[in-house]
């Protein structure tokens, strides 16, 4: 066994650095993208193209004092931001970037990612509750009801993909989509899916991942640009920074899952580069779409948000599940 302490530590450090860098620079991408969409420059002063902005922001946040409001539950107040970052870091230990580039492949990798993603809800709860503030409490109730509502159609849609590929191993799911661009799960009729509704399942999955990561048009939990920041209203300094980075890290995890399940992972549409680069291109295309959607669509209200999940997405995804099962039985 070539597994040494050095290997383990190197893997952990690489994953943490990957997540942190992604989170920091996605903030920059988001602000630049927002600037472009709103016809203003965005952060462009510090360094070339404003590339030094994220580390400087980080330094500023770390230099600030960590205020704990009176009457707050100290232990939980400090734990909550850590819990916000923790699930996405844990998810990366089983997300494969190519056939060989994976920290630890287990044959239930998909469940592993979803299980850790479900831990994120608790950080909202602890943050909202321990702040000892009515506003953060109400925002936490809203954010949790949102993330619980959208977890259900997301899991049901994932089950349809699992039924088609017959495996929970992320590498195996990608392997079945390789060979030809039309073998990707998002394309109907070709490949192994033979399912007319696959583009539609991808749409459900994408909407749910937007809602799960609290992104606009579903960012009622925080609404950082207009309202008080929601469940993390009492957090300053790096506590706030961790919540902010956790959100972007979750977007990366969501984009990875979308690319692996529906867009063929590291399967190349046409040669050119090795698979890893294709996977990374697919992730960042999905993330760019997420940013684009955020600055193009207005925010929904809480009622239409919950109605969309319970009255539209859940029945549709259940129908999708039954339809897929029927097709698999027939063909």
């Amino acid at each position: 066994m070539s597994l040494t302490l050095f290997n383990v530590l190197a893997a952990v450090i690489i994953i943490v650095i990957f997540v942190a860098l992604n989170a920091a620079y996605l903030v920059w991408c988001e602000r630049r993208g927002a600037g472009r969409i709103q016809r203003r420059p965005g952060p462009n002063i510090n360094g070339p193209f404003g590339l030094l902005q994220p580390p400087l922001d980080g330094l500023k946040l770390m230099a600030k004092q960590l205020l704990i409001p009176g009457g707050a539950d100290k232990a939980l107040f400090i734990t909550a931001p850590v819990l916000a970052m923790f699930p996405s870091v844990m998810s990366f230990f089983t997300i494969p970037f190519s056939d060989i580039l994976v920290a630890h492949n287990i044959n239930i990798g998909l469940i592993c990612v979803l299980a850790f993603a479900s831990l994120g809800t608790m950080s909202l709860f602890f943050a909202g509750w321990s702040s000892h503030n009515k506003y953060s409490m109400m925002a936490a109730i809203r954010a949790i009801s949102q993330s619980v509502a959208y977890e259900i159609p997301m899991l049901i849609t994932v089950i349809t993909v699992v039924m088609i590929s017959g495996s929970l191993d992320l590498r195996e799911i990608v392997r079945q989509q390789s060979g030809n661009i039309f073998h990707w799960n998002i394309f109907p009729l070709f490949g192994n899916s033979h399912n007319l509704l696959m583009p539609f399942s991808f749409l459900i999955f994408f909407i749910c991942s937007l809602a799960e990561t609290n992104r606009a048009p579903f960012d009622l939990g925080e609404a950082e640009s207009e309202l008080v920041a929601g469940y993390h209203i009492e957090y300053g300094s790096m506590g706030f920074g961790l919540f902010f980075m956790g959100e972007y890290a979750n977007i990366v995890v969501g984009a990875c899952l979308g690319a692996l399940l529906f867009l063929g992972g590291w399967a190349c549409p046409f040669g050119l580069f090795p698979g890893v680069w294709w996977f990374i291109i697919k992730i960042y295309l999905l993330i760019a779409t997420v940013i684009w959607i955020r600055w193009t669509f207005p925010r929904t209200t809480i009622y239409s948000l919950l109605n969309l999940s319970w009255k539209v997405l859940i029945p549709l995804s259940l129908f999708n599940l039954l339809f897929t099962a029927g097709l698999l039985k027939v063909f």
Binding site: L5, A75, A115, S118, M122, F126, M137, A140, I144
Partner: protein, 178 residues
């Protein structure tokens, strides 16, 4: 042979001990905490520790299900219940009989002693692995050998949902009448 402290196996051992401690400490916090939210936090730590135990016992599927169901669903449900009923920060409700502590301790000691005696006196047979414990095997067993239990569980969940709906509708009717 004990592995060296600075090796991968040593690290695994340390993590095992940490998780064992997390399960125990979490359970103790869950029982003794004065605030309801702290108790829930302890419960979650305990669940994660138990999930890690399953992982070390070579069944990652059960371990992930433990996290997905207990932390992702049950703890969130409890969190909802706490937030909606909002007992606030009342530290402790009701007075406690002074005898409860010693009696509880005696019962716990008795149970622990019984289990320990059972474990020590049983003649443990090293058992071959029944099956590989994979998802496929678990699914097959659920839908063949244990299909009765499986169906009964779903009936029970259905009854629970219907019961919750019935209670809610009854409350609404009363509000309409008044």
């Amino acid at each position: 042979m004990t592995p060296s402290f600075f090796s991968a196996d040593g690290l695994v051992g340390i993590i095992f001990l940490l998780m064992l401690a997390a399960a125990l400490v979490g359970a103790i916090v869950a029982v003794t905490a004065k605030r309801l939210v702290r108790a829930l936090a302890g419960l979650i730590v305990c669940f994660v520790g138990v999930a890690a135990m399953y992982f070390f016992l070579n069944s990652p599927f059960v371990s992930m299900m433990q996290i997905l169901i207990y932390v992702g669903a049950i703890a969130v449900t409890i969190a909802f219940a706490i937030m909606l009923t909002a007992p606030g920060d009342k530290e402790q409700m009701g007075s406690r009989n002074i005898l409860y502590g010693p009696i509880g301790f005696c019962c716990a000691a008795l149970v622990t002693f019984g289990f320990a005696a059972l474990a020590l006196t049983t003649n443990w047979i090293p058992f071959a692995k029944i099956n590989d414990g994979s998802v496929q095997e678990v699914g097959r067993q659920l839908l063949t050998t244990h299909v009765m239990v499986f169906e009964l569980v779903s009936v029970m969940l259905l009854i629970a949902i219907l019961g919750a709906l019935a209670i809610t509708i009854e409350g609404r009717r009363k509000r309409w009448k008044s």
